[in-house]
Amino acid sequence: MTDVTPDKIVSPVKEDTPVALQRRKLIAQGAIWAFIVVELIFFSVAGEYLSVSDKAFMDFENMLLLLKQSAPIGIIALGMTIIMINGNIDLSVGATYALAAIVLLDSMTWPWMQALGDSAIPLAWGLALLTGMALGAINGLLVWKTGVDAFIVTLGSMLGFRGLVFMYNGEQPTSHLNWTLVDFAEARFLGLHTATWFLLGVALLLWLLMTRTVHGRNAYAIGNNREAAVNAGIRVGPHMMINFMIIGFLAALSAVVFYSESGSVNPNDGMLFELWAITAVVLGGTKLTGGYGSVVATLGGVIAIQLLRKGLGHIGADTQTVNLVIGLILIAVLFLDRQLNRKGKQELRT
């Protein structure tokens, strides 16, 4: 009753030896970076012949911009990784993102907040991040206490949170431009944009969380085999709840980083973010069935997708080709992954 995919194997799967597992992990983690290198080479070479602009694709500024542009989805995708390692899924992140953005921008227009001047900014940030965490906590609590599958719970809250977004300000966009915030968002430290720093910072923290803490180890254990985790005395519920609060927080953080600069949010913003985030996570090799995956590889997945978008644009392909290519690559990755894993396992469907 607990697995995310209906296709979960019924027969017991033979476990890998630690060495084989380690080797597979290396291959899986290396694959996404190798893919990025291939993309870079391909677009650089193809760009020589096909590009409409005479700027090189591997331009340093271009690459820095690419990192900045991958931040909004990237921060969410990093959070989605730990949710999926935990054996759950979160379809409500796009709506959480929009609601946090509205809280961020609207709270700065409240009279008592305006009276505070620029010191209202950290307060507005805090409110937005708290909103995200609260929404995540609702999801986590529902998954924990009701025992309803996370896919269904978050499918429901995807609709519900979106409803809250609309209730806040109707169909009107919510706007507030604060120049101190814009300056902060456009600032660069050591060449990297603010958004990039947040992306890398989140990746580092989550990597530490998942590889160096008890919570991370337990999250893997729960995703791998929930029954066994329960029997081993791991308190499954709180761990899942913490992970949902983390992804809520990160969806809000992503909104904070993006809307500090843009200053205007439409009630439809963030739609389909969940699907893009899941795509990046899967490209990074994380399993939908839980128990397996890596935060760093997801960062690779995020960069690979953004590189593909930018690269196809660079060689003059239309936006529609990007969708087509990303969709087919996703399926191809799934197929290759299965072929690679087949040897060690009797029957695997993810």
Partner: protein, 324 residues
């Protein structure tokens, strides 16, 4: 004694909960606004949910078979755009079968990947959501599609016509629901769908061709999507590239509301129809009460979580999950 009663009420709620909720909603809305149960209002609601409903019928097969289909919204955009484009190029009589063939082709491709290659259906259909969207944009060149001569075509009959006072979309929805319901409950194929979704390994051991059955559920699903695309195209005679965007999750909501388990093996066409109607009537009832359209999102959220929660709770015999 008290426990017995509570258990019995719990069981009843679990088995017929969705019908009880449906009736309760109808009564509340009817008391709030008598116009709600006027015949033309009811027909209007059913008509406007017909497109979502037709797709939900097909997705029911996929879900009972133990898989997911997230590509239906994107696929409906595709079939709508294709049939509108071909309408002016080769005429409606040829455009419709051509669109059906192409849409079924997409369904067959997904069915091949999920059925025969045994790839995870969530990711495959997620990838196809994106890929088909790209295909649609390539076909249309990113522009909106419109029929040149909107007055002089019989093509509009599917979406706008009516027979004996009943709108054609309702008739098509009803007819399809009856046919698919019979297919699922009265034929060997239907029983195999339940078997494969209920326990795939056991089904294989009892000689059921699991791959072919899964493949066929996706064919049914894409066939329904093609019908929905036809209804959509014929109703508006023009369309954006993103007409079906987000529909996949609404459809899933309706199917789950109807009581089909995402783990496969349970659910019926009739219950899905109820799920679709509930979503439609809630939307309509809230609008008639003077509430904005987005209030329904929040109400739908509460209903979905409650419905599935009660279902799960009744099966395990206690309200809260035993997870520590």
């Amino acid at each position: 004694m008290a426990d017995m009663t509570r258990e019995r009420i719990g069981g009843l709620l679990a088995r017929q909960g969705i019908l009880i909720a449906f009736v309760a909603f109808m009564i509340v809305f009817a008391l709030a606004n008598p116009r709600f149960i006027a015949v033309d209002n009811i027909l209007g609601v059913v008509r406007s949910t017909a497109i979502l409903g037709v797709i939900a019928l097909g997705v029911t097969f996929v879900v009972i078979g133990g898989n997911l289909d997230l590509s239906v919204g994107s696929m409906m955009s595709f079939s709508t755009i294709v049939v509108l484009d071909l309408h002016d190029k080769i005429g409606p009589a040829l455009a419709i079968p051509a669109m059906f063939a192409l849409t079924l082709g997409l369904g067959a491709f997904i069915g091949f990947l999920v059925g025969y290659l045994k790839l995870n259906s969530l990711i495959v259909t997620l990838g196809m959501l994106s890929a088909i969207h790209g295909l649609t944009l390539t076909w249309s060149g990113g522009k909106n599609m419109d029929i040149a001569d909107k007055e002089g075509t019989w093509f509009s009959v599917f979406g706008q016509g009516s027979v004996l006072g009943l709108p054609v979309p309702i008739l098509i929805f009803a007819l399809l629901a009856v046919v698919l319901s019979l297919l699922l409950s009265r034929t060997p194929f239907g029983r195999k769908v339940y078997a494969v979704g209920g326990n795939g390994t056991a089904a294989v051991f009892s000689g059921i061709p699991r791959a072919r059955v899964v493949f066929l559920t996706y064919l049914v699903s894409s066939g329904c999507v093609a019908v929905a695309g036809l209804l959509q195209a014929s109703r508006s005679l023009g369309s954006q590239n993103t007409v079906g965007q987000g529909l996949e999750l609404e459809v899933l909501a309706a199917v789950i509301l109807g009581g089909a388990s995402l783990l496969g093996g349970s659910g019926t066409v009739f219950k899905t129809v109820i799920g679709v109607l509930i979503l439609g009537f809630i939307q309509n009832g809230l609008l008639l009460m003077g509430l904005a359209f987005y209030v329904q999102y929040v109400v739908t959220w509460v209903i979905i979580v409650l419905a599935v929660w009660l279902d799960v709770a009744a099966k395990r015999g206690r309200l809260l999950s035993p997870i520590a």
